[in-house]
């Protein structure tokens, strides 16, 4: 190789998508989509401009949150959210365990497997808020509709991950237990449960955390929790109160995340 040719050749890292045609096609498609999307975007820029003052007011509200003037509503809402979270997580775990067992291919026969997977898929595709609208329509306003919504959402999350974990277990202990003449329940208790328990505890704690975050949302459609108070605070432009509520939520989520991290490290 001559020196001139070597100088003309520059090394470049290989691209993520190897096929040049696919790369160009995707880029072109993305460009066309962006042009269409931005072209059809309807934004009232004057309203946005006028709103920036309020945005400033919100930032100021964060600097000086007002916990006092709506303290009763805030504390009741947060407490209701926590109560809903605990109940819904407990109910969700109780329902998830049998469904998770049924959705594990190495434990359940095919019809049971398909039925349980169907329940999991239904729970995962339906948005919490949409489910909450239904439960509020059926059970009336209040925390019970919220508990049912969160329990339903918990099943989709927990049963799926539990089933996958059961499918990944080491078959040797299960076989050894079965060889002693154990019944199906004994097989679960001694062959499967010790293998999946640490992860089940970890996932449940994680879900507790998610359920609290979600409980703040479903209140907007009337299913209990802090959401309704937050909605009212924004509607009345009481940004200092809204900031106080958001800061409380963030603080609780951070505490829960830290606490569940500690517990998970101990059990796993």
């Amino acid at each position: 190789m001559t020196g001139a040719a070597a100088a003309a050749r520059r090394w470049a890292p290989p691209p993520l998508i190897a096929s040049a045609w696919l790369r160009r096609g995707l880029a072109l498609g993305a460009a066309i989509y962006l042009a269409l999307a931005l072209g059809t975007l309807r934004v009232n820029w004057r309203r946005v401009w006028e709103g920036l003052d309020r945005g400033g007011a919100f930032v100021v509200g964060f600097a000086r949150p007002d916990f006092v003037s709506r303290w009763v509503e805030i504390s009741e809402g947060i407490l209701e959210g926590l109560v809903m979270t605990v109940t819904a997580t407990a109910v969700g775990i109780l329902i998830s365990v049998p469904i998770g067992l049924g959705a594990a291919r190495n434990l359940a026969p095919l019809p049971v497997y398909l039925a349980c997977r169907g329940i999991v898929a239904a729970s995962r595709t339906l948005q919490e808020v949409i489910v909450a609208i239904f439960f509020v329509a059926m059970f009336g306003f209040g925390p019970l509709a919220g508990v049912l919504t969160l329990s339903f959402a918990t099943v989709g999350f927990l049963a799926k991950l539990l089933a996958e974990d059961i499918e990944d277990t080491d078959p040797a202990p299960a076989e050894a237990v079965r060889a002693t003449g154990a019944s199906w329940l004994q097989l679960l208790n001694y062959g499967i449960q010790p293998q999946v328990m640490p992860r089940l505890i970890g996932l449940s704690l994680y879900r507790l955390d998610i359920n609290f975050r979600e409980s703040a949302v479903i209140g907007i459609v009337g299913a209990g929790g802090i959401g309704a108070t937050l909605n009212t605070a924004f509607d009345r432009y009481e940004y200092a109160t809204a900031a106080a509520i958001l800061m409380t939520i963030i603080a609780i989520v951070m505490t829960a995340e830290y606490g569940s991290g500690l517990i998970r490290r101990r059990v796993q």
Binding site: P13, R42, R54, T125, M138, G140, A216, I220, G224, L230
Partner: protein, 271 residues
């Protein structure tokens, strides 16, 4: 090995007595909290409504079918808006998420005592607050519409993408980074030749995953006025037009399934 003697028979136990006691106390406490919580919920529930629920549910179901197919013609535009909210929101989140992730990762942050906690705080704040709540805030600040939805999705996604990306950055192989450093490369060159190629597939996967979640979330943002198909949902629920609600659900369900399929295919191709 913990062994207990009962009537002269030595019985094997899985745990020692102290740990068993601790376990039981944990269960007792947990059960007490759950029971107390349930009683609080029960006290706030109108049980007459609950006993009525099967009747109400059947009534609702009978009102919801058949879906109003002709209504679909009015839904294409809101659906397009919903897709735009999710996609533009995700794109807008990627821009700030990348630097935040590099500032938060232990091996790339310029200062572990000052900048890393700040980056982590940004991530936690963004993650703790659901996009629907961000939308509430933004509708009240910049007015109802698609833009509020896009910004809400973006604000929620920054934390998600940055968290997963910084975890990916912390897990990279050190050898290529050292090799690039040994050639006398500058800081920027080390990042672009030593780190970026290693996390690029993860980054693409995370982005598509978040896009899929955002499609789901953007369908309900309209409930608080932030544009998209949720606006139609809110309008239909408010006037109790249940056949229209069914139609919206079918469309949302189809969109979610398609987006999940696309995301699964893309992630499968990358990883």
């Amino acid at each position: 090995m913990p062994v207990r003697e009962v009537a002269g028979v030595r019985d094997w136990q899985r745990r020692a007595r102290g740990r068993r006691l601790l376990g039981w106390l944990g269960w007792l406490g947990g059960t007490a909290v759950v029971v107390a919580s349930w009683q609080a919920i029960s006290a706030h529930t109108m049980w007459t409504f609950v006993w009525d629920a099967p009747v109400q549910g059947a009534d609702l179901a009978s009102r919801m079918f058949p879906p109003r197919w002709a209504y679909t013609a009015r839904l294409w535009r809101p659906l397009w808006d919903t897709l735009n909210i999710a996609t533009l929101g995700t794109l807008a989140a990627l821009v700030p998420a990348v630097p935040v992730a590099f500032l938060a990762a232990r091996n790339t942050t310029p200062s572990a005592t000052l900048i890393r906690p700040a980056a982590l705080l940004v991530i936690v704040s963004s993650r703790s607050i659901n996009s629907l709540i961000w939308a509430l805030l933004l509708v009240s600040v910049i007015g109802p519409g698609v833009l509020a939805g896009i910004v809400a999705i973006a604000l929620r996604s920054i934390g998600f993408v940055a968290k997963l990306l910084y975890e990916a950055i912390e897990e990279i192989d050190r050898a290529p980074v050292e090799a690039v450093t040994a050639t006398g490369a500058g800081r920027g060159q080390v990042v672009s030749y030593g780190i970026v190629p290693q996390v690029l597939p993860a980054f693409a996967g995370i982005s598509v995953f978040r896009w899929d979640i955002n499609i789901r979330e953007s369908t309900v943002l309209g409930l608080v006025g932030a544009g998209g198909i949720g606006l139609e949902l809110q309008a239909s629920v408010n006037v109790l037009a249940w056949p229209q609600v069914t139609m919206i659900f079918l469309l949302v369900l189809a969109t979610v399934i398609v987006s999940e399929w696309v995301s699964a295919r893309v992630r499968h191709a990358i990883i």
